[in-house]
């Protein structure tokens, strides 16, 4: 029997020998309905073309036909892993547009829920990213802690994922002693949990080989691709909206922005792990510094959730309508446009609003980080192996609900 040798001959662009692979949209490793059309030379990617739009629900069109208050529920469905951050981002933007004051306690509550959702989002990212690369156990460990946070969300506002927690001019529900006690317990315990995850993967040879040097981006390239969030900071650019344009109570919080150096998958992983620690630290400050007071401002045009829903139903239809017309009666909707960015777990979530004096946004544009991150995938995926593409999709931390809108 003669020995056969296989020789990997590189094929030219456009060669018929190239293998075409359609990755997704129903593929567990693409984190949702992301489709990537690949042209392969052996196992190396020659052309990488991400396709999105499978989850497009026309939020921007829909928002033009709904009032500012009604649109809050749409933001839950953007980044459904961290709905709280989207709620806060939307309300911060509308409040700045309409110049609505938010009471101090509501600001702190917003920071608190933002950081809780950041932790839960990063935990889901770590879990699925590790699972993609082949580390099964850390997935289960992450979900153990995430469950605690989701239960807290449910106790706070009745929903685990689609929270709709904020209101224009404040938040919907105040925290109870029970929530604060449970959160305090969580914050106390969480640093040891982070160490646990790190023990599992940080010294793991396979993890290091799969992440170090993969998907490397220079600082200039990352800025050029309009990346934000930890994906940008991993490349050494110190840009965090919480520090650059502080919103809610972030100007009173003490925290650091972790910045990586090498710009590869491992650097981005380290950034997010440090962010978990910083978020935990912010949560600790929120618990300690939470001021007393009202949770909705006096000039809030929004409806406060009825405390006793049973009683509200007895109100006759006409009065009920009047309740919902409140928002159009008050003359708070001035003309003008605004762009407000907030830092969500994935990156910079921006809302560009045009108000023309009615209760509805004339135009609402959502600048979602995932959309631009997937846009960068085409550049980052060129010339790498298929297995590394999965690691790159994981490290960019994309959510398709936010990308497709």
């Amino acid at each position: 029997m003669t020995e056969t040798k296989t020789v990997d001959i590189p094929v030219q662009n456009g060669d018929e020998d190239r293998y075409q692979l359609k990755l997704g949209p129903q593929h567990p490793a693409t984190h949702g309905v992301l489709r990537v059309d690949l042209d392969l030379d052996g196992e190396t990617i020659v052309e990488c073309d991400p396709k999105v739009g499978y989850l497009h629900r026309g939020f921007e069109k829909l928002a033009e036909h709904r009032t500012f208050a009604q649109n809050i529920v749409l933001t839950d469905r953007l980044d459904y892993i961290a709905a709280m951050s989207n709620n806060v981002g939307y309300c911060e933007a509308v409040e700045k547009l309409l110049a609505i004051e938010v009471p101090e306690r509501a600001k702190f509550l917003r920071v608190m829920v933002c950081e809780m959702s950041r932790i839960s989002s990063h935990l889901l990212w770590l879990a699925t990213h590790a699972l993609d690369i082949g580390a099964m156990t850390v997935f289960l460990y992450c979900f153990r802690e995430r469950e605690v946070l989701l239960e807290l969300f449910a106790e706070l506002c009745g929903a685990r994922l689609t929270t709709t927690y904020t209101r224009l001019g404040g938040v919907r529900q105040d925290v109870t002693h029970s929530i604060m006690a449970k959160l305090d317990q969580f914050v106390e315990k969480f640093p040891s949990c982070i160490e646990e995850y790190e023990t599992m993967i940080d010294t793991n040879r396979i993890w290091l080989k799969r992440t170090i040097g993969i998907g490397q981006l220079s600082a200039e390239k990352a800025v050029d691709l309009c990346l934000t969030g930890a994906s940008l900071r991993g490349s050494g650019v110190d840009y965090d909206v919480r520090k650059h344009m502080p919103y809610a109570a972030y100007d009173k919080m003490e925290f650091e922005v972790p910045v990586g150096e090498t710009g590869d998958t491992y650097a981005r992983y380290r950034c997010r792990m440090e962010e978990l620690r910083q978020s935990n630290y912010i949560l600790r400050q929120c618990i300690d510094m939470m001021p007393p007071g009202p949770i909705v401002g006096n000039d809030a045009p929004d409806l406060v959730m009825p405390i006793k829903p049973g009683k509200q139903l007895e109100v006759d239809v006409h009065a009920g309508n009047a309740l919902f017309n409140l928002i159009e009666d008050r003359n708070v909707f001035m003309e003008g446009d605004i762009y407000v960015a907030t830092e969500v777990p994935k990156g910079e979530l921006g809302f560009y609003f045009i108000s023309d004096g009615l209760g509805r946004p004339y135009r609402m544009h959502i600048r979602s980080p995932s959309f631009l991150h997937i846009g960068a995938l085409g550049t980052m995926g060129k010339g790498v192996m298929v297995a590394d593409l999965i690691a790159i999709i994981g490290t960019l931390d994309v959510v398709l609900g936010e990308c497709d809108r």
């Binding site: 069109k61 700045k96 800025v223 110190d238 446009d337 135009r363 544009h365 631009l372």
Partner: protein
């Protein structure tokens, strides 16, 4: 440097192209002509370190009550990570010729944002490497975010009609491929 100072300096450099400088809630916006948009962005990027493109989107001014220029606008939101200043450019695009130069030569991240604007408003970006629809389904007709486009149309999307027809055809067969008797 303050954003209003940058706006004034930019106005000196492009005296004919900047018609108006507005400030709303502390955010400075420039109403600009569409022709020198790439040059303007390049000046802002290199001379004023406005290296981060926050946002790029289209606007349809058809039913807008407040004063406005042309039918369409393309809004560029720029930010300087070093100097922490933000500036907004609103390029005017007429209805008769909805096109503008692409800024993908300055930010490759603008690629998808411009595709999205093309998809929703039908504004053509000259010099874009791959100007195709991005979020709407294949074979979509019309530009959804234009104001005359109805929120609820009177016909189904033709892809969905095809799909229903296919499902009807397939329902004639059972799981093993045998013909099912229709009642």
């Amino acid at each position: 440097m303050e954003p209003i100072g940058i706006a004034k300096e930019l106005q000196k450099k492009f005296p004919d192209s900047i018609s108006e400088i507005t400030t709303h809630r502390g955010q400075v916006a420039l109403m600009v002509e569409r022709t020198p948009i790439v040059e303007m962005c390049r000046v802002l990027k290199t001379d004023y370190q406005m290296n981060h493109l926050n946002c790029l989107c289209g606007v349809d001014n058809l039913s807008r009550k407040m004063a406005h220029g042309e039918r369409f606008e393309v809004v560029y939101q720029l930010y300087s990570i070093q100097n922490r200043v933000t500036l907004r450019l609103k390029a005017q695009v007429p209805e008769s010729d909805p096109s503008i130069d692409s800024i993908t030569c300055l930010w490759s991240g603008a690629n998808w944002l411009e595709r999205e604007t093309y998809d929703f408003f039908g504004i053509v970006f000259n010099g874009h490497p791959n100007l195709q629809r991005i979020l709407t389904a294949e074979g979509w007709e019309g530009y959804p975010l234009r104001k005359e486009y109805a929120l609820r149309g009177d016909t189904e999307w033709k892809g969905f009609i095809e799909l229903k027809e296919k499902a009807r055809q397939l329902s004639k067969f059972d799981f093993y491929g045998a013909q099912v008797e229709q009642e």
